[in-house]
Amino acid sequence: MANAHAHAHAAVHHEPKRYTGLMDWLTTVDHKKIGILYLIAGGFFFLIGGLEAILIRTQLMYPDQKIFVGDTFNQLTTMHGTTMIFFAAMPLLFAFMNAVVPLQIGARDVAFPFVNALGFWLFFAGGVLMNTSWFLGGAPDAGWTAYAPLSSIIDPDGKFHGVDFYVLGLQIAGIGTLIGGINFLVTIINMRAPGMTFMRMPLFTWTVFVTSILITFAFPAITVALIELMFDRLFHGAFFEASRGGNNVLWEHLFWIFGHPEVYILIMPAFGIISEVVSTFSKKRLFGYSSMVFATVLIGFLSFMVWVHHMFTTGIGAVGNSIFAIATMAIAVPTGVKIFNWLFTLWGGNIRFTVANLFATAFIPTFVMGGVTGVMLAVPAADFQYHDTYFVVAHFHYVIVGGLILSVFAGLYYWWPKMFGRMLSEGLGKVHFWLFFIGFHLTFFPQHFLGLMGLPRRYFTYMPGFGLETGNFISTIGAFLQGLGMIVFLINIIVTARKQKDAGNDPWDGFTLEWTIPSPAPEYNFKQTPLVRGLDAFWKEKMAGNKEMTPAEPIGPIHMPSPSILPFVMSLGLFISGYGFIYHHYIVSGAGLVITIISMFLRSLFDDHGWHIEPEELEEHKGGKA
């Protein structure tokens, strides 16, 4: 730290480059603004994915409907899945990681503010690239899992490029996610405030830490899978083509070596959010903190050992299937530990049912239901029946919507004041909660039975007379209710945005460092780096009768990184290059890559000395702007 400061002081005191308006958002390297960008972009893609879901359910409301059939329907399911996983769930989590983690560990910024911005713009470029496919001849239609050789078939007319959009979009977004993960890993290891030991980190930070490790080691696998698919599609490679010795099961392995850790990448931060919200609103510190940390790490580790349970029907053989079955069941144990710890955090508490806590407590039984079907799915011989049916669809929506999305809403209602300085309406929030919660169960509970009664997933229609009508109808009504819930939430955001800033530093009587600073957080986060004296640092001070944290340093000038347009330009380069590859105009791809590489050189050649906020400015800066 001391050396860093010495260096910072050596930096030139030149006038900071500061932008306003759109340029401010395009050039920002402030993790709080990047968090908001992730939230807006992720929210936007979430609405698109949700709309696709509504269209899917509309087609399936009655048997033999002909609204969206054949490839159109496959495009809807593919885009729904891919959008929701990569362009909605991931960025929404990155929104929280950016908005909260540096504050929770008492840091002024992330380790690499520039890389942080680059990560966002790459994700956004990938998401936009992929979604433009709707207007350019058709969206990808091979499922979000894009199993070869269905995904490696090339349209003989050369008009349909759907899967190319999938391949390029995900590769660009994947680089963004990877560098984002590395950034947070380093941030959490190196940037913690004095006294913030690993075992004093808030649980959300812990889960982000484990998620970042999983991102680092899982994303390269899908990068390789996508590169191989791209080589097969664009350059006539033979990875997945049986006639030239290729093997389609290879894709499945690579995809799921990434894909299974991916679902834990998604659910881990959700666990963290629930831990924060449940403990804050029961006014109790988390029950069994150390076992929660251990369970988080263990789940992260095991998540790399179970990918074959997605492939029980591929023909791996009984030995492989059995080993992976047992490994999968093992994950239930640490997950169960978490559930019981949450319950015993609530036990004996003084529980306030704010909207954030409604979502968090609704998460618990919902996630348990998703978890038990997960154990059922781990039994290979029974999975021969469940696999690729609506039973699986129900299971993973219980885990991802009932687990992840409920906790994202809990997190939004909880941290909204810290991000925007305004409290979301509790009244509208309750309407939102009940519509969404009831709609969710109506949609997905019947799907368990639909699957067992013989309805495979990704079917655009089903025959009447086999008992599948009622379940599908109820499911569609549920989807509409969830849609209504989302509309209420949007109204809530608009209403909230129009009112005065009304959030104090600590509206919920919180435990952790983010509640010690103004809402929204000023751009330098902490005027003085806090000294952390225990787990739940702020709560500890409150219990000792202190109103504020003890500072770990005197007030002094604060070094800030300069804003830069380069992350945006680099992403734009890859975005352009992506279209070049899709349409086989390799000059365009080359030009795009050159833009990116030149930007990298510029970044390397011209050192960023940053700028300083002087002590006298600190007082004026109180509010910050959001």
Binding site: M1, N3, A4, H7, A10, V12, A111, F112, L178, I182, N183, L185, V186, I189, N190, M191, T216, F217, A218, F219, P220, A221, T223, V224, A225, I227, E228, F231, D232, F235, H236, G237, A238, F239, E241, S243, R244, G245, G246, N247, L250, H253, L254, I257, F601, S604, L605, D607
Partner: protein
């Protein structure tokens, strides 16, 4: 201001002297972890497909260990010269650092030339990217390594050019250091390629 830093002002391990430097090192180690997974998957693919040659020469008929031996010699030597560069950097000898990095780049270029020559040769013998799953996975794995070497050459060259202007400071030292780390990693991958692709291709089935 960079120029005002005398050699004596540099700490013993200038790459770790600042928080920025420490962050960079940790991030780069993590990135290399991710690269290990990337190459691991490419190796796994190659292992699965290396005997899938419905048409065209097999690995055994194709590979000539003599050329590959020279490639290996060049690349492993370049790893050694990059170590010399970092040793000199730790001693604060900027000129020697630059010189050894330049030697590293030249050796890397030599490797690349041999590799391109080798690939041209293979294509003439009918071992093409599109000819079989073996061909596709071979060129993807070895080519990906070659792309890493190319990127490394461009990167280190840029650093040398920067170095003339910026000198050796706590800002440039981490850059030298991570570039050298990267170069070691690329060499290490080559050791695996030499073993798995070439040696096993020649003798194992």
């Amino acid at each position: 201001m960079a120029q005002t830093h005398g050699v004596a002002a540099l700490p013993a391990e200038p790459e770790k002297a600042t928080l920025e430097g420490k962050n960079k090192l940790l991030a780069f180690w993590t990135f290399l972890g991710a690269e290990c997974v990337l190459f691991g998957c490419l190796f796994a693919t190659f292992m699965a497909l290396r005997n899938q040659v419905p048409d065209g020469p097999t690995a055994q008929e194709l590979f000539d260990l003599k050329t590959v031996g020279w490639s290996t010699f060049l690349l492993l030597t370049s790893s050694l010269t990059s170590v010399f560069a970092i040793m000199n950097m730790h001693k604060g000898k900027h000129g020697a650092t630059q010189l050894w990095l330049a030697v590293t780049v030249l050796l890397g270029l030599g490797f690349l030339i041999l590799e391109i020559d080798e690939f041209t040769h293979y294509v003439h013998e009918g071992h093409k990217f599109t000819s079989s799953a073996f061909g596709t996975s071979f060129y993807t794995l070895v080519g990906c390594h070659g792309a890493h070497v190319t990127f490394g050459i461009i990167w280190i060259t840029t650093l040398i050019l920067q170095g003339f202007k910026k000198g050796l400071t706590v800002v440039t030292a981490p850059k030298y250091y991570v570039a050298a780390l990267y170069w070691h990693f690329v060499d290490l991958v080559w050791v695996f390629i030499f073993t798995v692709v070439y040696l096993m291709g020649k003798v194992g089935h």
